[in-house]
Symmetry: C2
Subunit: 359 residues, 2 copies
């Protein structure tokens, strides 16, 4: 492969086709991860792409293969994720370039300090010769392990709603306020958290999470007057997600009214789901099957570079089982035999692409 | 009255009896309150005692009256409450004297800096001539207001259990972990909070509060792995309180087991209830009634100096209605007509004591 660092700091390695001027298949993932994380999130997908090219033993296809290691996916430093893949998709804008890190350094300053010209970031945009994007990634969840499967074919990346919900009651003395004269914001929030969980359990494919709860004043001998709860709702079907979020908020209203509390909310994120390309999904499934592994199609609950690349070209993702469902943690790992399975399926995928009308 | 500051910094004013050598009735409350508080917690009881003596117009009884303004009740500075009343009760020990404030200043240092000798704090102890203690105090709760009553006769000060309860689950990705594969510590805590509330509502006279809930890691997109909840349980009957606390902990166990969580707890406080003196309670109730007000006996959910004084002599407390149930807040107030009612009832109480066998 001929390797270069592009205008957004992505590492790109080009493996030529049988002859010049042929279209291009991108295979990649991200090089960064979060602080105190493991060794496989993102970078396994880059290494797998390199290994896949290596095990071709210089065999050429009717398409070029471009391996990409994206420079910034997590959004840890600037609070904005997917900088590398957005550069390839051509959706980096001034707002992104002007985003600052904790020290007030802008994205454009960091690019310049790295030795690149931020005004030329558009050069990283892919040409019109792209035929698709394939990403290998650890699942970062427990589903494949629970099904005893090495691989999962991603059919869609779930849409997300993030909403902050605030219950307001009345802070009061825990000893002197009888139960029937309380307006306990935490008790109201607790009832709502149980309701969110119950409704999500009863809706196929839905996940809903309250992961943060800030209670004020937060003293053991004071009834809570204020409780801020985060709500995170995800589903592959945006209509189901929006319906669920609306139902959760209606539930909050009902609980607050009954308890003499007030409730308010603020939407923090409303991100549509992104479908993977049907033809590539089909082809990837067949590749898994021909490699001797059961095919399991699944929804990704987390965002990935494939979500961004899908805006520019047909995209597909192959998940590898995450032992213990652990990710973003030093215990994050993969099984060697699952990596081997992904490699075999990836090679099969390239063969299928070679046979298909696409190439 | 002849006034002096005692060895613990309490202000004490003595109003003589008809002749020397007669026993002594104490009437008082505390001079301190909490930061950012109101103008009536504690000091209203001292001012009412002074006003009561004043409105006697030099009429003497067969008992002395000693008005006490306690120097330290809240425990804000040293983390140890009731220093003033403990000095009168004779229960100040070295542990108390060596307690430090945030700057490392010990109680004994503060007493010395005030110009007193901490080794002589025992001098503040009351003599054996004490016949009782009466305390006027704002209710600091909403009960009297909800009943449209100016005054309440305290029959007991509730015992308290304070317990920290920790639910441990598994922190995980909010997007990639299906509902049925979660071990959500916050959802478990929420279910338990609802259960505590429901059981307390169904137990007459019981108050149970979860006022603090610390959730880890506490991010909107991460399922909570850890939740620490404070539990505060109070009742006038220690057996009922202990039974309730045990039931709450059994409930936590049941919920944790069902959800695949672990739960542990640590007792922070187990303080027995303190009954007011039955004879003084009866007499105070009659005084309220003879003054033209309905008699309402009630349990104090908060601790008071009367709780300490009850260890040394018969004690009684009269609560004044707290508008809005507000205390420890700048909006804390009292109605002038309720103060007048307390004064009339207090005078009646002195007359009853004069008539009774006690004097």
């Amino acid at each position: 492969m001929s390797v270069h660092v592009d205008a957004a700091g992505n590492i790109r390695g080009c493996y030529p086709a049988t002859r010049p001027g042929m279209p291009r298949l991108f295979i990649g993932s991200h090089l960064d991860t979060v602080p105190r994380a493991g060794a496989f999130d993102g970078v396994l997908g880059v290494v797998l792409a390199v290994a896949l090219v290596k095990c071709l033993s210089e065999r050429r296809f009717k398409f070029q293969i471009e391996v990409v290691g994206f420079s910034e996916e997590e959004g840890v430093r600037f609070g904005v994720p997917f900088i590398g893949s957005r550069a390839l998709a051509g959706t980096v804008d001034d707002e992104l370039l002007n985003s600052c890190d904790g020290d007030g350094v802008r994205v454009r300053d960091a690019i310049r300090a790295f030795g690149l010209d931020p005004s030329r970031i558009g050069d990283a945009r892919v040409d019109d010769d792209a035929i698709g994007y394939l990403e290998f990634h650890i699942e970062q969840g427990p589903v494949l392990e629970s099904l005893d499967l090495p691989l999962g074919v991603v059919q869609a990346i779930a849409g997300q709603s993030r909403i902050d919900v605030v219950f307001e009651g009345k802070a009061n003395h825990a000893g002197t306020t009888p139960m029937n004269l309380r307006r306990d914001a935490l008790a109201g929030a607790a009832e709502w958290i149980c309701r969110v969980e119950r409704e999500a359990q009863n809706t196929r494919g839905l996940v809903a999470t309250v992961g943060r709860l800030d209670v004020q004043p937060g003293a053991g001998n004071v009834i809570a007057g204020h409780a801020l709860a985060s709500l995170d709702v995800r589903h592959a079907d945006d209509a189901i997600r929006k319906q669920a979020a609306a139902s959760f908020l209606a539930g909050a209203n009902e609980i607050a009214t009954r308890r003499g509390l007030s409730v308010s909310w603020e939407s923090r994120l409303d991100q549509a789901s992104v479908a993977m390309d049907a033809s590539l999904v089909e082809s990837l499934g067949q590749s898994v099957q021909h490699s001797g592994y059961p095919v399991h199609q699944m929804v990704s609950g987390a965002g990935h570079d494939a979500m961004i690349m899908a805006g520019r070209m047909p995209a597909a993702m192959l998940f590898l089982r995450s032992p213990g469902g652990v990710s973003h943690h030093p215990d994050e790992t993969v099984r060697p035999e699952d990596v081997a399975a992904a490699l075999v399926a990836g090679k099969e995928f390239l063969e299928k692409l070679e046979e298909s009308a696409l190439s």
